[in-house]
């Protein structure tokens, strides 16, 4: 862990401001992502896990500047992505790609597959004619699709096939870093396995670095090297996958989250820690530690001040007063 990180995210925050009322203006602020710091090592997979509304998707998008971060830094190869000029950012985007959750909503239905995959080639490279066709066929082959489908349209394919095409499009410019935002959540189990295997194969063949966002704990356990657990816009715990899933999780939320995933394997089954209540409204988050109203081991201090994310050794970071 002493080499410089591949991607260093510092205090990244995205606040959405909504204004209500004409006369008496009420301003509401949702801190979708609140001072998140992560560093990604190259050729590794950082998993981001959390429930809906915890800001994991916004985090992924803010890193790529697909939503405008309020403040913070994203250092990629020594450059701050968030401070780049438009043209510099455009050039940088070649290195960073994203695959979305719903493959059905990721394409223009009136584009054929050739148009879809060659679009980044047309905007960023001078590949034309047969060279372009050749490249598209090669990309399709890389994701396990036959090259002769390139004149067909998105509606002719199943979800798993479309997700392969989305991956091919993301690979078109030889990126170094990919944000994978719930890439298998819309797929059936047997197809999910095909896509996960493909992503792992591509990672080792092309030396890719992944930020893998999901709510599915078994998928994150399978694919990531380290896992960041998010709750209401903040990272509450970060550790290696191995340690986190083998009883070394310390944050009460992480423990409850890990225990609530239903398991098929009887050896992996455990008692569920059932949390009371719901995720609070992010417009009006609880004071102090935002998890304290649901926390089984809340103390007086938890409702007063916000616990900071601290490194407690061996790359284990946690934001909780229980751990000193």
């Amino acid at each position: 862990m002493n080499s410089a990180p591949f991607l260093d995210i510092r205090d990244l925050s995205v606040h959405f401001v909504s204004r209500r009322g004409l006369v008496q203006r009420k301003v509401q602020v949702v801190r979708a992502v609140d001072r998140v710091s992560l560093s990604l090592q190259s050729h590794q997979t950082m998993g981001v896990v959390g429930e809906s509304g915890c800001g994991k998707t916004t985090l992924g998008r803010a890193i790529l500047r697909l939503v405008k971060p309020t403040f913070g830094q994203v250092l990629f190869g020594g450059e701050d992505i968030l401070a780049l000029s438009r043209e510099k950012l455009r050039q940088r985007r070649k290195d960073m790609q994203i695959v979305f959750q719903s493959p059905y909503a990721s394409f223009d239905p009136r584009f054929n597959i050739l148009n879809i995959i060659s679009e980044p080639l047309r905007t960023y490279t001078r590949l034309q004619g047969s060279a372009q066709l050749h490249r598209v066929a090669g990309l399709l082959e890389q994701v396990g699709m036959p090259g002769d489908i390139m004149y067909r349209y998105p509606h002719e394919f199943s979800g798993g096939q479309l997700q392969r095409i989305a991956i091919a499009r993301a690979l078109a410019l030889n990126p170094k870093f990919m944000v994978l935002d719930e890439p298998t959540s819309a797929l059936d189990v047997s197809v999910q396995a095909q896509i996960i295997n493909l992503l792992q194969q591509l990672q080792s063949d092309l030396n890719l670095t992944y930020l893998f966002i999901t709510h599915d704990l078994s998928v994150i356990q399978h694919i990531s090297d380290r896992v960041a657990v998010m709750y209401l816009g903040k990272v509450v715990e970060l550790h290696t996958t191995e340690a986190l899933f083998n009883g070394h999780a310390l944050h009460p939320y992480t423990k409850a989250l890990l225990s609530s995933a239903p398991m098929v394997d009887p050896n992996a089954r455990h008692d569920h820690i059932i949390l009371q209540g719901n995720v609070p409204n992010p417009v009006n988050p609880p004071s102090g530690c935002t998890f304290h109203p649901r926390c089984p081991s809340a103390m007086p201090v938890c409702s007063q001040t916000i616990p900071e994310l601290r490194d407690i050794g061996e790359g284990h970071q946690i934001a909780c007063y229980l751990v000193t």
Partner: protein
């Protein structure tokens, strides 16, 4: 076997579409006993939701039941007339769906909706219905019933909306609850709450539950018995532990191997090649044979019948020629 509450026998459903006849359900066979939680698992398009809808005769337009019987408490649901069905739906069988937000009417308060349901099915006064709904809110552990009663669906979270759905489904004393993907739209911590609630209600209200889901983890932890469906047919049926830990059908085996688990990290995931057949083209023989690694000559001829895995164990049944002695080609 008089403790059987619901018996689905050789159900077949066809849809007439512009593209042709679609075989949505080919051969669905299972029993649900009194007080039992039965899981119907399968991937999208395997006919599990359509089967649930057939049980309360709410098939979408264009669908026809072309074969089979559905017996509820000994009565054939498929020959019931309108009045008989009205007495069946809600009063004896209730159903909840995947997305609670879409099952509730956004322009009425939830109290208004539940009172209406109760008064449609039972001849009680508004006041009695009101009391009854409070009792149901309590049964599903909803706090502050007064406030909940007056609130509108958008004011409640997904987990609370699903509790409202469960409360109204059970408000008229249904004996069977069909829960179609009840936790798929919910977060894992809320899913755990909801599943714990269903397991508790099954005991306190003494009901049977048909849990329709694609999530093997969910059935593993909650159901007594499960049926695995593939392309409209049951391929394996038995006690949950028998099916999940000693799977016999190559599809069940493949599905379980495709699940990410701690030990799969280094080995890579097993995946089943190919895709589910589309239902438009009717293959003779076993519908899984195109994706099966142990396909034999006989698999191309006739669909395999559901048979006992071995003579000693009559509760574990599988539809595969690998296990039917004597028939092996």
């Amino acid at each position: 076997m008089n403790d059987v509450l619901l018996s689905v026998q050789d159900l077949e459903v066809r849809f007439d579409t512009y593209a042709g006849k679609v075989n949505a359900v080919n051969s669905m066979t299972f029993d649900i006993r009194k007080g039992e939680m039965f899981g119907l698992v399968g991937e999208s398009g395997c006919g599990k939701t359509i089967t649930g809808m057939c049980i309360i005769r709410m098939l979408p337009r264009g669908g026809r039941i072309t074969k089979g019987r559905i017996l509820f408490d000994g009565q054939d649901v498929l020959v019931m007339n309108k009045e008989e069905l009205q007495g069946l739906r809600g009063r004896r069988i209730a159903m909840i769906f995947q997305d609670p937000a879409r099952s509730l009417n956004p322009v009425f308060s939830v109290g208004n909706q539940i009172v209406r349901i109760i008064r449609t099915h039972m001849s009680v006064s508004r006041e009695e219905a009101h009391q009854c709904s409070f009792k149901m809110f309590e049964a599903v552990a909803l706090p502050d019933p007064e406030r909940i009663f007056r609130s509108y669906p958008h004011e409640l979270s997904g987990g609370m909306q699903q509790r409202i759905m469960i409360a109204s489904a059970l408000s008229c004393g249904a004996r069977l609850l069909i829960a179609d993907e009840p936790t798929t739209a919910l977060d894992v911590t809320i899913q755990a709450q909801t599943l714990a609630l269903l397991a508790e209600l099954r005991k306190t209200q003494n009901i049977s539950i048909l849990l329709i889901t694609h999530n093997l983890g969910v059935v593993a932890e909650t159901c007594d018995r499960i049926g695995v469906a593939y392309a409209g047919s049951i391929v394996e049926l038995g006690n949950t532990d028998d099916v999940l830990f000693h799977p016999k059908h190559p599809y069940t085996q493949g599905l379980l191997a495709a699940l990410p688990r701690p030990s799969s990290r280094k080995l890579g995931l097993h995946s089943i090649p190919g895709n589910v057949p589309d239902g438009l083209t009717v293959l003779p023989g076993c519908l899984f044979r195109e994706r099966c690694s142990q396909v034999m000559e006989i698999c191309h001829r006739n669909p395999p019948p559901l048979t006992d895995v071995d003579e000693s164990d009559e509760h574990h049944r599988v539809a595969c020629y690998l296990y039917s002695q004597g028939d092996k080609g």
